[in-house]
Symmetry: D3
Subunit: 114 residues, 6 copies
């Protein structure tokens, strides 16, 4: 019953892909919003993706963790940076964030092993 | 790892069925609440079920999506109406609602294919 | 200590106005997202604003209630339609939704009295 | 800017009172649900109200804290029991629960002073 | 597709174990927080674990339900006490709490059968 | 009805101060958790406080925004960095995050003006 994070991400892409073709106008605008807010600026793309991971943990969204973890890794986030982001999420979310923080580190390990 | 929405709904019925037999008084009152608020009135049952889907997406509750999607389909909600409800959820919930909106459209497709 | 909803809305416009001038690119895209998802389509603008009210109640966001209530009233939502939307929020959110549903009806009354 | 919890409760009663007269059927059923789940049973009414306080803190609902605190006090909850319930909420909610836990103890103090 | 709660708990222990070895300082402090708030005091450990279950249901965290259910059972919580805690969660969370309440009773049954 | 953020922070310190003296053991451990997770490490204290602001916006906690904004400013966060953190919160939280993002920028302005 271990989560397979690569499959989870695959499935996420499929379902949001269906949504994108069903609702092209809204999803195109949302895509442009996502692109705009995460580009390098006063804060680096890496830091913004780590921020998105911490938020995903606090709101308990597994697929969001998968998606932003993949982006953070692409942006060269280190294991230690991921862990410290999880720690902030624990301070802001308590016990449930230890649960989803555990999921986040599992996703990190699977994505960097692959 | 694609979610099987029909199985999910089946399992939901089983677990809430156990709850209903374990806690008959509370669950009977709750059932009467659910019935009352979703009946046709100033707003149609269909519109109320679509509203419940949008809420379910925003609060990230997969089984709630499954349950209210089935009801919305029974109440003759069209694919386009489901999609526009997902869009409202995206405005009110951002990226996580694109994730659960994707799940909602997958549920819709499975339930209307079946 | 009654909430003054007109003041609340005024203040919301001021703070989001500051945000819009501080972060014009993101807020312009978001504005276009909000516009797109709430326009008349398979569902009416009125029904979408009522949906946004129900979500606002379930996530306990007072300013969101104020903002979408004003829009719903502009889109000709009736008192009965507002109440039935609150009822759906109660089914989906329990006791806390009776609290924020009470706030919603107070906002409706103040905005339609003014 | 200290919250006046007695005023807050007063205002809550007014707004939910308006809701009750606007939506009598739903609110009557909900009232009966609330009554049923909090009566003495395998768990005491006091313990259930403390449970509702802990939930209210975790979901950050000030009026819910006010309402259930008043009920807990009526059911003879002690200051120490309130504090231990806040502590559970802190474990389950992290920093934000220290914020709303602080509000809860302030409400307790105001209601028992009055 | 029935959830296997024993497997879920097993997997939770594995992922949080990885987190504990990756972030020993934070997780050690958090462990001490969890221990402190749930020990017998003005409220019993059993009542605090039931409180944590009710919160877990309201915030829709399956693994949290699994973890605190196991603890509640160890602390001698009865089936009826679990059910009444679920009922409080239903009052505080509406329909989604009937969904996660159903999961909670399924977890209880699996853990007490084992 | 503009929020006075300095007063809000003052009041927060008072209520959590009462909680700290009422529940010294739990609050001392929590304080040590907060200190540990936000200290400079692989990520800077500044970046962690900005992360906490983004989370506070997404979970709609005004006092949390006030508290972490003050810390971020002390850690030399710039206006632009605050704005980009708000933007990430908008991507992760939609419309409600524009509302609480507006509050965050208002808090930033008041704290840096003072």
């Amino acid at each position: 019953m271990n989560t397979n994070w690569t499959d989870k991400l695959q499935n996420l892409k499929k379902t949001t892909g269906t949504l994108a073709s069903s609702s092209p106008e809204t999803m195109k605008i949302f895509g442009s919003l996502a692109l705009t807010v995460t580009k390098d600026g006063a804060l680096s793309k890496k830091n913004k993706e780590l921020m998105a991971i911490a938020i995903s943990i606090c709101i308990r969204c597994e697929d969001c963790i998968a998606y932003h973890m993949q982006n953070a890794i692409k942006a060269q986030a280190s294991r230690e940076e991921v862990i410290e982001s999880i720690n902030v999420a624990i301070e802001m979310g308590g016990g449930p964030s230890t649960v989803y923080g555990g999921k986040a580190i599992a996703a990190y390990e699977e994505f960097t092993r692959a």
